[in-house]
Symmetry: C2
Subunit: 485 residues, 2 copies
């Protein structure tokens, strides 16, 4: 059997899922009610077909460490081998898939079959998914470009559709496969209804299967300029670590921003080169709060949600409550998403417009568009709990074995109280331990480092004092995560 | 001229204004958009009629220091003399007014005129108010029990009404005064409409004016049992400080819980003893979020509010935003009240039902019914910013000249970082100063006190560490506010 390599394309900001999804905390990292992330679920699914042990993820620098953390959480089910392509910025799916195809070809040759999965879909029936992948891999081995279609359950206007042509075999075997006649963009309501009625239209799931040779040949035929630009990026990778390929920003800037559907699949379908496997599994593109709400069971009033809720005369309302009590009185058909620094109250019929909030926040230069109150870092995370004139209070969590860079501040001093774990503190020329419940103090202009040499998470409360407390008052001398330059 | 003493009756919880109003932070203390509290505005109004310099406030122990703080904020306009009756718990208006009448009679005799005002009303036209009080004081001097009526501007079903009988003089002098024919409870919509159409009905504002002799005589006639029970409470007051009269809980428990309208005014009106002065001023019983919303100007979409708001396709919606951004999408006719520990989203047509949220929270034993995240104390305030296993982070603010009790904890140690002002710290046998940006540490089982001997507020961040962090792990040795017993 030829190699089967799963490729996860991760990075869409998911602005319609604000305020839980942020630019630096996209929806693939959102925790679902079961505690898992969409990315974690996608990784498990990507590794479920027999023969797949290797996972290639296309993402970006900001999300690299977080992605590794999610895979590490999978425990026994984590990938045997994981590699990463890090884009400097998003350029849609065609460049991402082209880069992935080159990387897989370099290691496994032109016969290697790639299974390409967006990071933020949800499929519950894994057996049906595996069966569809098996069928797709057979067709891919015949040099077809294979897509996965979902039988529409409603006249959805938010998805693209595929028109199925001839069946690719005459037997009754499931899942069925067809040649794709054409790709169609998101239709209007009437057109969507006609597609559902016609019976030979399926939703375009955005998942693909093909050999590296087939997709690279199709890219060459239909998107030669793009392929050339991507090849220059691939050639320029000079990483010592073959499992982490960073793409040069200047070279990547010249790559067209275009989807794989538009660049390759549509013209290839016209040339008869594209097949669709009609999946018999459920499939959710968790693209809006409506989709998230539907992951939870409704009570007898149609209300859903979690957290401390008080519902008076409330119907058909979804509440995501965090650490506060959320009370609703006399309302219906709302989605209420409560987070530590931002609140959304939206009509469930207007959820497509949530992205306009993000646009407006960006216009105002408001942080709530970019990151949540808890900011993730390669070494752990910090949260600003409180600030006032001349001071700032932060919760800082350092992962076992991790360390904050050796640094110095010109204008602030810091008080540290250890509330969990043991800190190894470098302060000037001293290195010493600070145990739980103990404290220490870092004067202005003093080189310091906070390190967790223990096996449990280290949590400290940091009180910064000074006349300037911006994150940019930092001189980094040494950093394990390449940030000292 | 006889004495005119203003009496403010304060203490209604204002459950319809949750979550800004809480049991321990009632609506009279809510800050309005202009930064003033309803209580502060009421005190200024109470002191505005000529001849009034003395203010008697009926409230409770929990609100005593906060009430004094509000009056202190009035600066030049603060009362020349302020005294307080502290009820151990609420018993409606009849007992409160009876206690006040006895206290005023004891100091000023039976001819003294009392002006009784609820703490949480809003009246903008102070001159018209003063004119109405002057008219009421004349009638009170003739031993009438005087109420203030407001000409209805709509068929409101949330207020009681007074039916006016004969005019009390034949001239055209304003404000007009009438004998009251009867008191009527909150009517239904049709009845309210008929009252407005009839022209001789006014809203019962809940404000009163009478001599101590007249009200005590009327209490004796119409509510003798209640008066007897209240007299026993008054006789038992053994305060060295005549300006602070604490009522004994056991004695007060036997006083009937009844309103002055029901206990005295209704039967007295039937006996022809009650007059009404028809005020020409505006009047708002700030009794619901609708009334609070109307204090602010609406934009062209009918939206009102304050704080960081993003409004997409939003109409007729009131948003109270605190330190978070509040985004609304495709909603209308909502009131959204965002506070650090609780959120309310209510239809503006269902605001009367907000009190049901408080009832439900009490049933659940949830703190959000009782107090806000920032808890006020006689010496200042504290806010729990964050807590986790084995630690708690508090912001503590100590007023100039104030001190926390000399205390000790058996199971926690405390780290203190001063972020504003200067702390005078007692720790065991030492007393020392801690300046802004500096820190200190209080070990377990060590007597300590935090004091602000400076002129500016003292703010510290306290990190508590220990296996038990309940507020009840405290041994108080000495307390300026009588809490060491």
């Amino acid at each position: 059997m030829t190699s089967l390599v799963s490729v996860i394309v991760s990075g869409g900001a998911g602005t319609r899922l604000w305020p839980l999804s942020r630019e630096l905390a996209p929806k693939a990292f959102m925790r679902l009610p079961d505690g898992e992330t969409l990315l974690g679920k996608t990784a498990k699914r990507a590794l479920s077909p027999p023969g797949v042990g290797e996972l290639l993820t296309v993402t970006n620098r900001e999300l690299y460490f977080r992605t590794k953390d999610v895979y590490a959480e999978l425990g026994d089910r984590k990938p045997r081998a994981a590699s990463y392509i890090l884009e400097p910025f998003g350029r849609n799916t065609a460049p991402a898939i082209a880069l992935a195809a080159m990387a897989v070809e370099a290691h496994h040759g032109g016969d290697a079959v790639m299974l390409v999965l967006p990071a933020d879909h949800l499929i519950a029936d894994r057996d049906a998914f595996v069966a569809a992948v098996a069928r797709a891999a057979e067709l891919a081995a015949d040099q077809m470009l294979v897509t996965f279609g979902i039988t529409p359950t409603r006249a959805e206007t938010g998805f693209g559709y595929l028109e199925c042509g001839d069946a690719l075999d005459n037997s009754d075997r499931a899942p069925a496969a067809f040649r794709v006649r054409r790709f169609v963009e998101k239709p209007d309501q009437a057109t969507a209804r006609s597609y559902v009625a016609a019976g030979n239209f399926v939703w375009n799931s955005g998942m693909f299967c093909f050999t590296t040779a087939a997709i690279l040949a199709a890219l060459k035929r239909h998107a030669g300029t793009l392929l050339g630009a991507v090849e220059r990026c691939a050639d320029a990778i000079r990483s010592a670590d073959a499992s982490m390929m960073e793409i040069d920003p200047d070279l990547f800037a010249s790559v067209p921003d275009i989807s794989i559907d538009y660049a390759v699949m549509e013209p290839a379908a016209a040339a008869g080169e594209v097949a669709v496997v009609r999946g018999t599994f459920d499939w959710t593109d968790v693209g809006s709060w409506q989709a998230v709400a539907e992951l939870e069971a409704a009570d007898s009033d149609g209300n859903r949600g979690h957290g401390e809720r008080v519902s008076i005369a409330t119907r058909n309302t979804f509440v995501h409550a965090d650490d506060r009590v959320v009370a609703t009185v006399g309302v219906e058909n709302l989605a209420i998403i409560d987070t530590p620094d931002a609140l959304l109250v939206a009509n469930r019929d207007a959820l497509q417009r949530v992205r306009e909030v993000v646009t407006e926040l960006k216009t105002r230069g408001h942080d709530a568009a970019r990151e949540a109150r808890t900011v993730l870092r390669p070494w752990g995370a910090f949260t600003v709990l409180h600030e006032g004139p001349g001071f700032k209070v932060k919760r800082i969590e350092v992962k076992p074995g991790a360390a904050i860079s050796l640094q110095l501040h010109h204008r602030r001093r810091e008080h540290w109280v250890v509330v969990a774990g043991t800190a190894t503190v470098t302060r000037g020329d001293e290195v010493f331990s600070v145990e739980t419940q103990d404290s220490t103090h870092i004067p202005v202009e003093t080189k310091h480092r906070l390190e967790n040499s223990g096996a449990a998470p280290l949590v400290i409360m940091e009180i910064q004092c000074g006349d300037y407390l911006g994150e940019d008052d930092i001189v980094r001398f040494e950093d394990r995560y390449g940030r000292a330059k």
